[in-house]
Structure formats: C-alpha cells, structure tokens
C-alpha cells in the first residue's frame, strides 16, 4: 500500500509573498490546497485601545499606521467621523483639497497593489519598479504638502493642517498626464500578456454572493460585479460634484480585481483633474477648537483604496472617546481567502492572496 500523507506548510509570517506578517497554514495534497487558515496578530499594536487614551488630535497619527499605504484616506475617515459626531462644518476649499489628496493616495495605493500582484505572479520586480517610479511622484507631492512621505498626519478635524504650498498644484497638474501615459506603458507589460492572463483569469473566483456574505468591499467587491462605491452611493465630501465611473468586473477572478484597480486609477485621475479645476478659494486650515468632548455615538465609513474603512466612536463627554472601533476593509477581505483557495494549488493561492491586496497594518490594528 502506498502511504498517503497531507503536507502542512506554514506559509509566513516570514515569506516573500504574504504581504507583511501574515501566516497562512496550508494543508496540501501534493501542491493542491485542501485547507487554508490565515493566522493574524503578528502586527497587533492595540490601536483601538490606544484611542481610548488619546484625544482625536493625538490619535490622528495612529490612523496613519492602519493601512500604511493609504494614510491620507485613514486620516480622512477619522476626521469625517468626528466632524459628523460634533457637527463641524468644513470649508469648501478643505473639502476639495481632501478629495484631491485622498484620490492621489488611492492612486499610490493601487499602483502598489497591482505591481505587487504582478510580483506575486513572478514578473520579478519590473512592474514593481515601474509603479514605484510613478508612486514616487505622488509621494513627493505629499512631501511638499505635509513634509512626510508615508505617514502624513495631514488632515485635521475641521479642515487640513495647511494649504497647498506654492507650486504644488502645478506639480499635480503635471502629474496627471504623466501618470496616464505611464499607466498605458504599465498595461502593455501585463494586461494583455498571455502568461499573465493564463495565471490570473478564472483563478480565485469570488462570486458576488460570497463577497457580500463575507463583507468584502472595495475593488474586490466591484470586481465581482457588484457596483458599490461609497463615493457614489453614499457620497461624502464633494464627490457628488464630480463626474466619474465606478469600474466593475464580470467574473470576480484575480484578473478582474487587477483590471478594476487599473481602471480606478484612471477614474481617480479624472476626479483630481476636476477637483483641481474647481478648487475654490478660502482658508482650508481648521478653525475649530482642538479639544472635543463628544457625547453619544456615531459610525461613518469612507471608501478607502481597499474598501470601506469605518470608524465607530462612542463618547461619554470626556476628551477621550469611550470606545473607538475600526472597521478595517482588509480584515473582511482576508477572511474570504480560505473560501477562495480551496482546491487551487500553491501558485494560485499566492495569486489569489495578491489580488485581494491586503495590508496587515489594518488587519491587526
């Protein structure tokens, strides 16, 4: 008799393609995945608990460390929630600035997502370097705006920390056509590539129903064919003033998730162009009290590059919130992985994981 044995592989927490410190427990039959269990917690920093001992101004830098590839969007989420809770009005210029900044960061995040996905498929480093070259432009713009390259701490409750420095709007104006051109170049490398398509089409298929059941949001949900984008469906800031499309996929496979992100970059460029054109005059800097004593509770979610980022704040009249709960999109997106990869082989597991585009910072919080 031949002996039959299942092979258990511990993929991670130190592994080239687990995007940080994710630990996947894979049960294999040969190379076919029988069971996949994501274990998390290697990056846990008690951010939600820390929030209970910080005022909102003090807590703002901690949101940068959630989804560290989209810090501006995290800042925005917290600001909007507190503004909703305290009924604070924000000047139009600040709203427009926030849109521009958030969309720029969405592009930076998506560039990173699609290029690391290509890296996971073995297109070694070339797409990554192309995308990082373009992302660098955005980072430089952010550097001019707030002096930071990754953790910005730029937004404030009631506005932003400072107006655009002189010359930065010209930089952004230059950047838009540049990125369009470079995105075309990037797509010639991957989108129609026979090997890339063979590797990602019909791999890690996520049906609309499963996606909704698991609470998957963002590009991953839209790739499954469900048109849901908070910027359109529950508009916040001034998103209802802009003309842009919500790209969706058809099959919900890895390739769809890739192409939805690429198309979203183009849509974001459209939004930035419009917002920059209609940027109103005024003072965007917050003119509100720095100390808030929130009473009551509220929930607000925004469309982050990875999905819906929600902040749930309970205040008891103290300057610290009584409880601050973060709904991290990557957490829900990761939860669907084990349902997606059963029956695939290791290579496809890496492909499916890469296409989900998770960031461990916000999963572990």
């Amino acid at each position: 008799m031949m002996e039959y044995e299942e092979l258990i592989i511990n993929m991670g927490p130190q592994h080239p393609s687990t995007h940080g410190v994710l630990y996947l427990e894979l049960k294999l039959d040969g190379e076919v995945v029988l069971d996949c269990r994501p274990n998390i917690g290697y990056l846990h920093r008690s951010i939600e608990k820390i929030a209970e001992n910080r005022s909102f101004v003090q807590f703002m830098p901690f949101t940068d460390r959630l989804d560290y590839l989209a810090s501006m969007n995290n800042n925005l989420g917290l600001c909007l929630t507190v503004e909703k809770l305290m009924n604070i009005a924000v000047s139009p210029r600040a709203q427009y600035l926030r849109v521009i900044i958030a969309e720029l960061n969405r592009i930076a995040s998506h560039l990173f997502a699609v290029s690391t996905f290509a890296q996971d498929l073995g297109a070694f480093a070339t797409p990554l370097f192309y995308a990082l070259r373009d992302r660098e432009k955005i980072i430089q713009i952010f550097d001019h705006i707030c002096g930071q390259r990754l953790t910005y701490n730029y937004m404030r409750v009631g506005g932003v920390s400072g107006d655009l420095p002189a010359g930065v709007d010209a930089l952004i104006k230059e950047y838009i056509p540049y990125q369009r051109k470079m995105l075309d170049e990037f797509e010639t490398l991957l989108t129609g590539n026979v090997i890339f398509c063979a590797r990602s089409k019909n791999i890690g298929v996520l049906s609309k129903e499963t996606a909704i059941k698991y609470g998957v949001t963002g590009p991953n949900l839209r790739a499954s064919g469900y048109k849901w984008d908070l910027r359109k469906d529950e508009p916040y800031l001034v998103y209802d003033k802009f003309d842009f499309d919500i790209p969706t996929g058809e099959n919900g496979d890895s390739w769809d998730r890739y192409i939805v992100r690429i198309r979203e970059i183009r849509e974001s460029l459209k939004i930035i162009e419009q917002a920059l054109g209609g940027l109103p005059e005024g003072d965007p800097v917050a003119k509100v009290n720095k100390v808030f004593r929130p009473n009551g509770e509220t929930y607000m979610c925004t469309e982050n590059p990875r999905g819906e980022l929600g902040f749930y704040i309970v205040g008891d009249g103290n300057i610290f919130p009584y409880r601050l709960k973060i709904r991290a999109p990557s957490f829900s997106n990761l939860s669907v992985l084990s349902a997606m990869v059963k029956g695939l082989n290791i290579s496809d597991t890496v492909c499916a994981l890469g296409s989900l585009d998770i960031v461990m910072g916000e999963i572990d919080r």
Partner: protein, 323 residues
C-alpha cells in the same frame, strides 16, 4: 620524452583555459544580469565596487567564501553535501566539447551534442538531492517541481537537436558547425522552428523566467536552494549561470553557425553569438511573469513535443526529397 607528453600538456592547458573561462564567465554573467535588470527596471544596479560595479561579483564571491557553513538540523547530510557538486560538475564537464573555434576545442567527440545534452541533464539529480536533503518543505516542493520540469523539457529539447543532427548528418559539434558553412541553420524554415523550440525548452531546462517554477520566489521562497548559504549557495549560482552560458553556446553552435564569421578571430564570433542569445534570455526574464506548474507541463507535452515531432518528420521528408 617531452614530445610524447606534449599532446597531453596541450590538452591540459586547454582544460585550464576553459575552467578559468567558466569561472570568469559566470561572474561576468551575474554582473551582466544585474546590469540588464537594472536597465530594464529604471535603476542603476551595482555602481559602488569598481567602475560601474564591475568588481561586484568578485566582492560577492569573497563574501560567500568567508561565510559560515550552516547545515539545517535534520538535513540528510550526505545528500545535502553532495548536491552542490552534482549541480556544478556536469555543466563544467559539458565544456569538453564546446567548439570555441575551428581548432579551439578540448575534445571533438564524435557524439558531442549527445554528450552535452546527457551530461547537463545530470543536474536534475543534484537539484532533487538538494530539495530532498534540506529537510525543508519548500525545498522539497521545489526539487519535485524541478525534476518534473527538467525531464519534461528534455524531450522537446532533444527532438529539436535531432533536427539539426539530421540536417548536419553528424553528432560532432565541429561537424555541425562545418555543415553550416553554406547557410546558418536557423535561416532554414524547419530549423528555425527547431531553434524556437530549443530556446523555449532550454529556458525551462535552466529554470529561468517564465519557467522559474522550481525556485519560484513568491511561492517557494527560493525553492530547492532555500537552505543553502555561503559557498554552497554560490555553487548553485555558478551552476545556474554556467548552464545559461551552455544553452546559449549550444544554441549558437547548432543554429547560429557557431564560430563561423566573416573575419577572424572565430572564438570572438562564437562568444558574440552566445552572448546575443544570453541577452535575449535576460530580456525575457525581466519582462514576463511566471507560468504555473500544470500549465508548463501541458505546454511541454501537448504543444512543444508534438510540434517538435512533426518538425522531425518534415525534416525527414525534406531530406529524402533532396536525396
């Protein structure tokens, strides 16, 4: 007395030349690959050690030589120790009948091409030994993938070489080069097909993108040589680049006219052609994603092998028709 030993001395000298060529060539290729990849990826690559980082490989070699020898616990020690040698020695041996020039060849065996093909396929043993001996699941998977891959692609590789042998009517490397004096082989349509098949299967033979499945970084960390460090790792590395040179040099000899060229030195032409093929393979490596294991296997058996067989048939007909 000396006259009696002279031929042997000459042979020995040639051997020493070839060996030092291999070492230098591997180091040069590693540097070249880093530079080519940097060029493709909008970077500079190594720039600090020597002009344009040209001494980087030497610095790396020194570092690797000085590194501690780490044996993983639970490793199958004998297999673990032998594996790097099984990977390194065969490609070096294959240089025995590599035609650098009309007279510049260590031994022009009358079964030259057969010898090269068979001796280089011993490498798979070493790779499998490394995968097995490491006591690491990633290495084991890498080793198994490698064994399957190399054995599969051996078939179309040999079938494409067979077309050349039929055309040239000899197995000797020099004979094949001489047969190309009227017309380089890759200019003939049936041999061009063989050339393409050869390049694809040779890329798979040396585990390069898009067939770098055994050492798929994003899946298997580093595949079969995950656990190797120091000089043993360097031996895998040198073997990889020596193999790269061999497949390119064989491609140059079989299809691109080997050392044939309008002016002397003929060895220069041979190297030039080999490096053109190498540059092409490097360009491919830094552009394409990786295929999946089963896709690669079905491509070898369902596409490449039938096409190669058909090509053999067509070549046979053409030769018979020609008389």
């Amino acid at each position: 007395m000396i006259a009696h030993y002279l031929p042997y001395l000459k042979l020995l000298l040639k051997g020493v030349c070839v060996l030092s060529f291999i070492a230098v060539s591997a180091m040069f290729l590693i540097w070249l690959e880093r530079k080519v990849s940097a060029k493709v990826q909008n970077r500079l690559g190594p720039m600090i050690t020597g002009p344009h980082g040209s001494l980087q490989s030497i610095a790396d070699t020194v570092k690797l030589l000085l590194k501690e020898n780490i044996v993983p616990s639970g490793a199958d020690r004998l297999t673990w120790w032998l594996a790097p040698f099984f990977v390194t020695v065969p490609p070096v041996t294959a240089f025995l009948c590599m035609p650098f020039g009309p007279t510049f060849i260590v031994r022009d065996l009358n079964v030259g091409i057969l010898f090269i093909c068979s001796i280089t396929s011993i490498c798979v043993l070493g790779i499998f030994m490394a995968g097995w001996g490491s006591n690491n699941k990633y290495s084991l998977l890498g080793g198994m993938r490698s064994a399957a891959q190399i054995i599969s692609y051996e078939v179309p590789l040999l079938l494409s070489a067979l077309v050349v042998i039929m055309e040239a009517g000899t197995l000797s490397m020099q004979g094949i080069v001489h047969a190309q004096e009227p017309c380089w082989f890759f200019l003939k349509p049936n041999l061009f097909v063989a050339f393409v098949i050869y390049l694809i299967s040779a890329t798979a033979e040396v585990n390069r993108v898009p067939f770098d499945i055994p050492e798929a970084e994003s899946e298997l960390v580093a595949g079969y040589h995950t656990e190797y460090s120091g000089m043993k790792f360097a031996m895998f590395f040198v073997a990889e680049y020596t193999n790269l040179f061999i497949i390119s040099a064989v491609a140059a000899s079989l299809f691109l006219g080997g050392w044939l060229g309008p002016i002397r030195p003929s060895a220069g032409w041979f190297l030039l052609k080999a490096y053109v093929v190498i540059a092409f393979l490097m360009w491919i490596r830094w552009t394409l994603p990786r295929v999946r294991m089963d896709q690669m296997m079905s491509f070898a058996w369902k596409v490449l092998t039938p096409v190669a067989l058909l090509n053999v048939l067509v070549t046979g007909w053409l030769l018979v028709a020609k008389g």
